[in-house]
Amino acid sequence: MEETIVETNFKSEEYFINMGPQHPATHGVLRLLLTIDGEIIKKVEPDLGYIHRSIEKMCERDSYQQIVHLTDRMDYLSSNINNEAVCLAVENALQLEVPDRVKVIRTIIGELTRISSHCLWWGVMGMDVGALTTYFYGFRDREMINDIFEETCGARLTMNYNVPGGLMFDIHPNFIKRVKDFIVHFKTKIPEYDRLLTGNVIFHKRTKGVGVLTKEDAISFGASGPVGRASGYSCDVRKHRPYSALDKVTFNEAIKTDGDTFARYEVRIQEMWESLSIIEQLIDNIPEGEYRVATNAVIKLPKGEFYQRVETARGELGVYIISTGTKNPYRLKFRSPGFSNLSLLNHIAVGGKIGDLVATMATLDLVIPDIDR
């Protein structure tokens, strides 16, 4: 297209605009300070801390059993995986081998959590780019998973189903049947998602070539989860450092190389298929046995440092415990995936338009309590 230069008296200047803290596209209490020239973004500066609760400081005062309950207030959409991370860290520190039954159930519920989180993400992703229908479709399927969780442990979101040493209760007698029903149901729904959004031309125009992140930058910014994998960076902790029963299953790591918003979308859609496959491999083979091994009522970790990495729906969660041998951790640090993924927002949003920023943020899949720990 040929550019025509029209001489006008208009002045162009940069200005600030606030996006949030109450903005539907931020999915929480996040404020972005945008420096804009016209509609072109020059700089994005996140302003954090609106809901910071200092979970790390609280952990220094709490027992290890109590800490588990704080973690599902971080990334509430991956609550079960967060719980699992702390339990695994404590169990590894105590050199406690949990029964196979526990490992398999943890993995199944972890993958259900991932699907549930991706369903919600898919719904709001569509909503962010202007397709309200997806929201209802995503929530419809997520509801089935939440019902399974409710029957299993009484909670739908902040589950606290894991305890150091195993699980709080055994699974409900209906669990296996309902999970199988869900697999049958959801296998017909992902193609529906594809028909509705993945192949949509308008959606392609909003997402392809938008918010491109190269592999080198992804690694340098510590991107993980679908954000890293969409840039061609193999970073699935489940593959590289398998935990629980993930070493017993076969699955493909969803990797795309484009690094744009559409690639991040595709990775998550493919991850839903992979999660279904993992659940299918395990659901018929839940070993018999105990659902928990006894631990001391007061858990004291040996002196030392312990690090546990798990893959939540958003990426790599790290639990770093420094123990001095008492019943509380001396220092506990959560390496949260959302925090690192947010830090690269400025890098990939500059030069785009405000609408592109919304689409980009939707595929970063930020959960604000995960960032404001």
Partner: protein, 186 residues
């Protein structure tokens, strides 16, 4: 690469003055300021600059002096045998007498990991070098450490409070932090 060979590799970049006599210094050219510092200050005060340890941790731990931090980190990232290009965790820690930072590093090529620790005894005005120019993720992570531990980072592009307001007094994750209103002590 195993922890043992990593330790040998990294030890060869920063030979300590006593061992220097009988060890082959292979890559002198690559030891920019690091080796110069050591060779000019051959005093008994500096017996060993790097302390390696595997005790009580699943990783190989290196304790490095603040002056050596940046050159060590640059080497860890750029050396083709180590290639620690992924800084997956950066934590501030208050060890009581000392404040410091713990860096968890992984190589996406070789898939080995390492932990680097740096400590400073200065609690009034603790200062360390930023590693922002090596790993871009450090920009936010170091701001978080500054916010909660009050450690300032040299050469950081935008060092200010991240979560707390600019008027906040004190650094909450330090062990001696007192807040009678907001903190519930059991």
């Amino acid at each position: 690469m195993t922890n043992q060979s990593l330790q040998e590799l990294i030890g060869s970049w920063f030979p300590n003055p006593e061992a220097e006599k009988d060890s082959d210094v292979v890559d002198v050219a690559e030891n920019e300021e690091g080796s110069e510092d050591i060779s000019t200050t051959q005093e008994p005060i500096n017996p060993s600059l790097l302390v390696f340890s595997e005790e009580g941790s699943q990783f190989l731990n290196i304790i490095v002096q603040p002056e050596q931090l940046h050159s060590l980190m640059a080497q860890l990232k750029s050396n083709p045998d180590s290639q620690f290009d992924y800084l997956f965790c950066l934590s501030g820690v208050d060890w009581g007498a000392e404040l410091g930072v713990v860096y968890h590093l992984e190589s996406t090529t070789h898939r080995h990991s390492i932990v680097v620790k740096v400590k400073t005894p200065d609690r009034e005005n603790p200062t360390l070098d930023s590693v922002y120019d090596i790993w871009m993720t450090a920009e936010f992570l170091e701001r978080e450490v500054y916010d909660f531990f009050g450690i300032t980072f040299n050469n950081h592009p935008n060092l200010k409070r991240l979560f707390l307001t600019d008027e906040w007094e004190g650094f909450p994750l330090r062990k001696d932090y007192v807040d009678e209103i907001n903190m519930v002590i059991k």
